[in-house]
């Protein structure tokens, strides 16, 4: 069992450049088991870049990423974490049930797990449709289904509530909380601060590739010098 005071994932001084532009600089934070971390910040703050660097999908120039105090390399990264990108249409010409079935087999999940995930996310009505024909909301549910079929201890989800209405957002939040109760840890990149405030335990506030603050809402309020204000107000104060 992971000791509560030992970070699951530790990032130190992470830096990333796209040609001459510095898109991430001096990012350091820790993530503990069974937490829900919200990466928040304005558009272009570097949220997706940060997640893709952690997932090993983008190279980074500076910094270290450790998993349970060991350097995170290609093999350990594949075992430790799974990143769900935003705006991806996997296998647009295949049917939803084929795509879900493929990921279930690839990640070694059971049929029972697949049925549960499909039911939880309300994908039943569209299983015979091609993934390329899905609406934005169903496409998002399909992607979430893929993430839930994995068995990685840490899930990095990019904009998991994008394309959902309020009821659907609340439903997905309930599912994600259940995922955490199962023992997994979540890092969510969210641009809707209201959604982030509803579900996240701690926040990483990014702007212009720099980490302006990290902590619980109370800790960020203290940093902003404002007590009993919303996350939105803290965000406006700090950015």
């Amino acid at each position: 069992m992971q000791a509560l005071n030992t970070p699951l994932l530790e990032v130190k001084n992470l830096g990333k450049r796209f040609r001459r532009a510095e898109v991430l600089s001096g990012i350091s934070f820790s993530i503990f088991a069974r937490e829900i971390i919200g990466v928040i910040g304005p558009n272009g703050a570097g949220k997706t870049t940060l997640l893709e660097c952690l997932a090993g999908l983008l190279p980074y120039e500076n910094g270290t990423v450790t998993w349970q105090s060991s350097h995170l390399n290609g093999k350990s990264r594949k075992d430790a974490l799974f990143y769900l990108p935003d705006g991806v249409i996997p296998y647009a010409r295949q049917r939803v049930q084929s795509v879900i079935g493929f990921y279930r087999e690839a990640f070694g999940a059971s049929m029972e797990r697949e049925r549960k995930v499909v039911a939880q996310l309300g994908l039943d009505p569209v299983t015979a449709q091609h993934t390329g024909e899905l609406s934005k909301g169903y496409r998002r549910r399909l992607l979430l289904a893929i993430a839930l079929l994995t068995r990685h201890p840490l899930l990095l989800l990019d904009e998991p509530f994008d394309g959902f209405d309020l009821r659907q957002v609340l439903n997905v939040m309930a599912i994600l909380r259940e995922v955490v109760q199962e023992g997994r840890t979540l890092v969510l990149s969210i641009h809707q601060l209201l959604d982030a405030a509803r579900i996240c335990d701690r926040f990483l506030l990014l702007t212009n590739g720099r980490l302006l603050g990290a902590g619980t809402l109370a800790e960020l309020q203290e940093k902003a010098g404002k007590k009993a204000v919303s996350l939105e107000e803290v965000f406006l104060e700090l950015t």
């Binding site: 999908l57 990108p85 049917r95 049930q97 879900i100 079935g101 493929f102």
Partner: protein, 453 residues
């Protein structure tokens, strides 16, 4: 790796392969290729049969003419020529999309996180593309069956050799397409890169057959080398090994370039190492002196007794041709004598002497033009003949070889007067219609639950 882990890995590979096949056949690209291939191969076959039949009619009652009637040259090479065209111009699009579309849609970000290595991913995609190549053989397969049904002769070692040549060529084209898809960001750019490379090899082939400069010397790099040998019924293992090394190098480079989390510098270094290793392997493969003449008429080799004698030559045999390499006499000598000598004589040097080239419409002013000089162990002979009947005695005499002609029965040839026009309906209508129906069925089919094919 424990047996449980091995089983887990195998089930992942199996799931990946089935998914690749589903994805491949869900797109129109392979179907279009198969649809185009049927009339293309059919037309080639029907025309080949017609020409072969006309020539056979003239050869009736003339054994000398009949000896030139070989189904390999007359029927199978032209028929499979349709496959060559489709593989060169259409197959890259089929192969590119297995990587290119995932890159373009962003789905590669999910694929790269699957519990398997990038090399396994690429190999499985390659296997799926290989299945399309096998399906592409169907029209040519029907042509072979039709030929046999008409009473045509098939010498299977020749036909299998031809298939091997096409398979290796297809493998190299697919590897180029994978590399192009790996290094570019869009399917369209990858297609341009792949076609530039495959069509670039045509230029190399042309240079190799018509000029003698450094550009022509590079023609050994062409991936069509194995195919051209196989069309002559020859298995040249050095050429096969070189093409395979090239294809594996391309695939290896595709594997090295695909992971998005690797820096450009590291990718460049890895590809540099791959180029270095493959260049060494290609050079090494060039030293393989192993050939198999698979033809029934043994057109790629001399009489077995003569071949055995030539292999015993210890010193270097130097042949200097005072001919332009694109002169028809030089080409004839190259195919009838020099190519065979290269395969048999351990140490052979062939060079073209500097002569004033013949004008476009008139003869060369240089008296030496047309002369061929043979040098061995300080001895020298001259001749203007390009026929093996005259060249071999010169070589034998220079090297002190005593060769008794073997007891080989002459190749009879297989002329056949027949017609294949009626098969037009099969190749132009029925086979394309069946391909279309297969696509329609596949398109409308409800896949099983669990993602099975």
């Amino acid at each position: 790796m424990s047996s449980r882990e091995a089983n887990g890995a195998l089930s992942v590979y199996w799931a990946l392969l089935r998914n690749e096949l589903r994805e491949l056949f869900a797109s129109r690209t392979p179907w279009v290729m198969l649809l185009v291939l049927a009339p293309l191969v059919g037309y080639s076959f029907i025309q080949a049969v017609s020409l072969f039949s006309d020539a056979s009619q003239s050869a009736q009652g003339h054994p000398e003419l009949a000896r030139g009637m070989t189904p390999l040259d007359g029927i199978f090479v032209p028929t499979f020529g349709g496959l060559y065209l489709a593989v060169t111009l259409l197959f890259p699009f089929v192969a590119i999309r297995t990587i290119g579309e995932e890159k373009q849609s962003g789905a590669l970000k999910l694929t790269l996180q699957l519990p398997t290595s990038v090399s396994a991913l690429v190999v499985l995609k390659f296997l799926a593309v290989g299945c399309v190549w096998f399906l592409a053989l169907i029209p040519a397969g029907f042509a072979v069956v039709a030929w046999i049904t008409m009473g045509g002769h098939v010498y299977w070692p020749e036909l299998v050799t031809l298939l091997v040549g096409h398979a290796i060529y297809g493998l190299a084209v697919a590897a180029i397409a994978f590399f192009a898809a790996s290094v570019t960001d869009s399917v369209a750019t990858a297609a341009i890169v792949a076609l530039a490379l495959t069509i670039g090899f045509w230029v190399l082939d042309f240079a190799g057959s018509s000029t003698a400069g450094w550009f022509a010397r590079l023609s050994f790099l062409s991936i069509t080398g194995t195919l051209k040998d196989s069309e002559k019924g020859l298995l040249a293992f050095s050429q096969i090994a070189q093409t395979l090394v090239f294809a594996l190098g391309m695939l290896w480079a595709a594997v090295a370039w695909l992971p998005s989390g690797t820096t450009l510098a590291r990718k460049l270094i890895t590809v540099g190492v791959i180029v270095f290793v493959c260049a060494g392997a290609v050079a090494g493969a060039g030293e393989i002196r192993l050939y198999a003449d698979m033809t029934e008429d043994r057109r790629n080799s001399f009489d077995p007794a003569q071949e055995a004698a030539l292999r015993q030559i210890k010193e270097r045999l130097t042949i200097t041709l005072y001919l332009s390499p694109d002169d028809s006499r030089a080409r004839e000598m190259e195919s009838n004598v020099l190519a065979k000598l290269k395969r048999a004589v351990p140490r052979l040097k062939i060079r073209y002497g500097a002569v004033a080239k013949a004008g476009m419409f008139g003869p060369s002013n240089d008296d030496r033009y047309g002369l061929v000089i043979y040098e061995y162990g300080g001895k020298r002979e001259e001749s203007r003949s390009n026929s093996p009947r005259e060249v071999l005695p010169i070589v034998n005499e220079l090297a002190g070889l005593s060769v008794k002609a073997g007891d080989t029965s002459p190749f009879p040839g297989y002329p056949l007067v027949t017609k294949a026009d009626a098969l037009g309906i099969w190749f132009y209508v029925l086979l394309p219609a069946l391909t279309f129906l297969a696509w329609w069925y596949k398109r409308g089919r409800q896949f099983d639950r669990g993602g099975t094919l």
